[in-house]
Amino acid sequence: AQSVTQPDIHITVSEGASLELRCNYSYGATPYLFWYVQSPGQGLQLLLKYFSGDTLVQGIKGFEAEFKRSQSSFNLRKPSVHWSDAAEYFCAVGASSNYQLIWGAGTKLIIKP
């Protein structure tokens, strides 16, 4: 079955500390992978995407993610978080052949001052 798992419902990180949000997927075809962010009261915004090529992808707001096929993972990282990064983060997987994205349940990021 196709699925996306974000194991952490909440993560608390101190401002200035590094961040890693986990995403594991189960998908039959070659996956297209995405991270979206949903800030309070705002719509979902695409942070970054992986289609092919270099397995380390850079996104907006200083985020990056690494695709590891052997681990079926696409973890999101940021070297130093800012209070404005407090939001909910969603991982999603799809394929080039269809528009149906499979979404994870999200990880809520809390920033400690």
Binding site: Y36, G43, L44, Q45, L46, Y99, Q100, L101, W103, A105
Partner: protein, 114 residues
């Protein structure tokens, strides 16, 4: 460029009442999506349009939900009659044709059914 616009942002109704949500996608985006998002969950696709054609409505509960995109631009999602379990955020998104997964979302319409 202007983003995806949704209205209303919030709606409170009693069960069995009708409700409608409106979405205006980004200009030039042929593909329009309606998603449902429950608290603590990721979005769930209700319907996808390519221009004015509904090409994927397999997840739309057709007994009470309907949608239209008459001129291939803005779209309306209707629920009639609403049930308690319909309380959720209804998200509209758009994308350029062929750009899988690169969605632009509106701020959502939060529905509370009492």
């Amino acid at each position: 460029e202007a983003g995806v616009v949704q209205s209303p942002r919030y709606k409170i109704i009693e069960k069995k009442q009708p409700v409608a949500f409106w979405c205006n996608p980004i200009s030039g985006h042929n593909t329009l999506y309606w998603y449902l998002q429950n608290l603590g969950q990721g979005p769930e696709l209700l319907i996808r349009y390519e221009n004015e054609e509904a090409v994927d409505d397999s997840q739309l509960p057709k007994d009470r939900f309907s949608a239209e995109r008459l001129k291939g631009v803005d779209s309306t999602l209707k629920i009639q009659p609403a049930e308690l379990g319909d309380s959720a955020v209804y998200l509209c998104a758009s994308s350029r044709q062929g750009e899988t997964g690169e969605l632009f979302f509106g701020e959502g319409s939060r529905l509370t059914v009492l």
